[in-house]
């Protein structure tokens, strides 16, 4: 299963990119992101997905610094790998070690039986986001298409 790394353009669809401002509180922002996936019909059990996401945050924050939050979970509540993207202009306190509020939010939901898929997605996304110009372009993008293009290009 490890050789079938999920392709980013199959995972990141325009419907799951939002330009709307998420709530400023962490748990509420996580629910906001989850609801984008729920509305897109990607989640069969909202409560189970939310519980898995919050359990992961409880273990240790997914605020990885540099203004990025990547709440994620492996859960039976999704049938296929799903990424939701939102930007916060206000910044959300994600308890990151570097103290930076999260302004770029990526939610990853991966089926429980997905093996190492979630680690692959998490690592390729993180690798892309380490580049200053990628984060800058995501902040400046004025359309869903521009965001999708930036992420797809950076991860490829």
């Amino acid at each position: 299963m490890t050789q079938t790394e999920p392709e980013i353009d199959a995972v990141l669809i325009p419907e799951l990119i939002t330009l709307e401002e998420p709530p400023e509180e962490k748990a509420a922002a996580i629910e906001f992101l989850l609801d984008r996936a729920v509305d897109a019909g990607r989640v069969t059990d909202r409560e189970a997905a939310l519980e898995a996401l919050l359990a992961r945050e409880e273990e240790t924050t997914t605020g990885v610094g540099m203004g990025i939050g990547i709440p994620h979970a492996k859960t039976d509540a999704v049938a296929e790998p799903t990424i939701v993207f939102a930007r916060s202009s206000a910044g959300i306190d994600f308890d990151a070690m570097d103290g930076e509020p999260a302004t770029l939010l990526f939610m990853l939901l991966v089926p429980a039986e997905g093996g190492e898929d979630h680690l692959e997605l998490l690592s390729s996304l993180s690798r892309a986001l380490m580049h200053d110009d990628v984060r800058e372009r995501l902040h400046e993008a004025d359309s869903k298409a521009a965001i999708e293009e930036t992420i797809t290009e950076a991860v490829a």
Binding site: G65, M66, I68, I70, K74, T75, M97, D98
Partner: protein, 97 residues
């Protein structure tokens, strides 16, 4: 100086083990970098984003590189951390990564 260590915790270099790793690396004056043993450029061990980007799974080897006065102490602490299984069962939560 550098050292190659096998990552023992079931989560690999993710979630809590990664957070503890980054916190520990930050505690030392030495500049610590980490890389998968099989190649790739070493990244800043004090950055959670950088450590997450490596995608190191349990059972894989990492190369730890430390430079500075307390480099050896830093390597000792980081090695101990990476070779200690987590006390809490990872199977307890299906969300752990």
């Amino acid at each position: 100086m550098e050292r190659t260590v096998t990552v023992v915790p079931e989560d690999g270099l993710h979630a809590r083990p990664a957070a503890t790793f980054v916190e520990t690396a930050t505690e030392f004056d030495a500049d610590v970098r980490v890389a998968p043993a099989d190649g790739d450029e070493p990244v800043d061990a004090a950055s959670m984003l950088a450590v997450t980007s490596l995608g190191v799974a349990s059972g894989e080897d990492v190369r730890l590189i430390a430079e500075g006065d307390d480099a050896e102490a830093a390597l000792d602490d980081l090695e101990e951390l990476l070779t200690t299984p987590e006390t809490e069962s990872a199977a307890e939560s299906s969300s752990g990564t």
